[in-house]
């Protein structure tokens, strides 16, 4: 069966450090992978989309990698700030392209 796995344990890091979050998947052949941020009680906010033929994508302090051989995406936040504290979700379309599946999310806590 198709699975998307994110570390369910919260990630605690010190302000200024780089946060790295992992998204692993099985039985998908995704054309692209998406990352979203979600704050408590709010809807997710789209951050980045990376396509299967892209190894890396950057947006300001964010960097995403996509390894279709390892079936893994890494999400990095450099120079992290307390305002980056949130839950980060990865998402994939199913192979038929008509359903979006989210991972369980990883909660990031950046301490000042």
């Amino acid at each position: 069966s198709q699975k998307i796995e994110q570390n369910s344990e919260a990630l605690n890091i010190q302000e200024g450090k780089t946060a790295t979050l992992t998204c692993n998947y099985t039985n998908y052949s995704p054309a692209y992978l998406q990352w979203y941020r979600q704050d408590p009680g709010r809807g997710p906010v789209f951050l980045l989309l990376i396509r299967e033929n892209e190894k890396e994508k950057r947006k300001e302090r964010l960097k995403v990698t996509f390894d279709t051989t390892l079936k893994q995406s890494l999400f990095h936040i450099t120079a992290s700030q307390p305002a980056d504290s949130a839950t980060y979700l990865c998402a994939l379309e199913d192979n038929a392209g008509n359903m979006l599946t989210f991972g369980g999310g990883t909660r990031l806590m950046v301490k000042p």
């Binding site: 994110q6 692209y32 998406q34 979203y36 009680g41 709010r42 809807g43 997710p44 906010v45 789209f46 989309l49 979700l89 998402a91 379309e93 392209g97 008509n98 359903m99 979006l100 599946t101 989210f102 991972g103 369980g104 999310g105």
Partner: protein, 112 residues
């Protein structure tokens, strides 16, 4: 520009009742998707509608139904409510496909 709007914000129902949730997409977006999010988990895909037609359906019972209107707004209906239907219901719009979803604030449904 207004973002995705959802109504109502909160709703309390009892088991066996039915509920209708409403969503207005971003102007110009023709695709609306519905998700259920239980506390501590990622959003689960329920439906996608595009140009008033169902394009995708997640693994939810037939008690869940939806429709999209000519102005691209959408309704999600849930019949015969169960305690387990208590969740945050999210609506997301996009221009056509499932990439870069814009989420609304959600409707918090509590079933007693």
């Amino acid at each position: 520009d207004a973002g995705v709007t959802q109504s109502p914000t909160h709703l309390i129902k009892t088991r066996g009742q039915h509920v209708t949730l409403r969503c207005s997409p971003i102007s110009g977006h023709k695709s609306v998707s519905w998700y259920q999010q239980v506390l501590g988990q990622g959003p689960q895909f329920i439906f996608q509608y595009y140009e008033k037609e169902e394009r995708g359906r997640g693994n939810f019972p037939d008690r869940f139904s939806a429709r999209q209107f000519p102005n691209y707004s959408s309704e999600l209906n849930v019949n015969a409510l169960l305690l387990g239907d208590s969740a945050l219901y999210l609506c997301a719009s996009s221009s056509s496909s499932l990439d870069e979803q814009f989420f609304g604030p959600g409707t918090r449904l509590t079933v007693l």
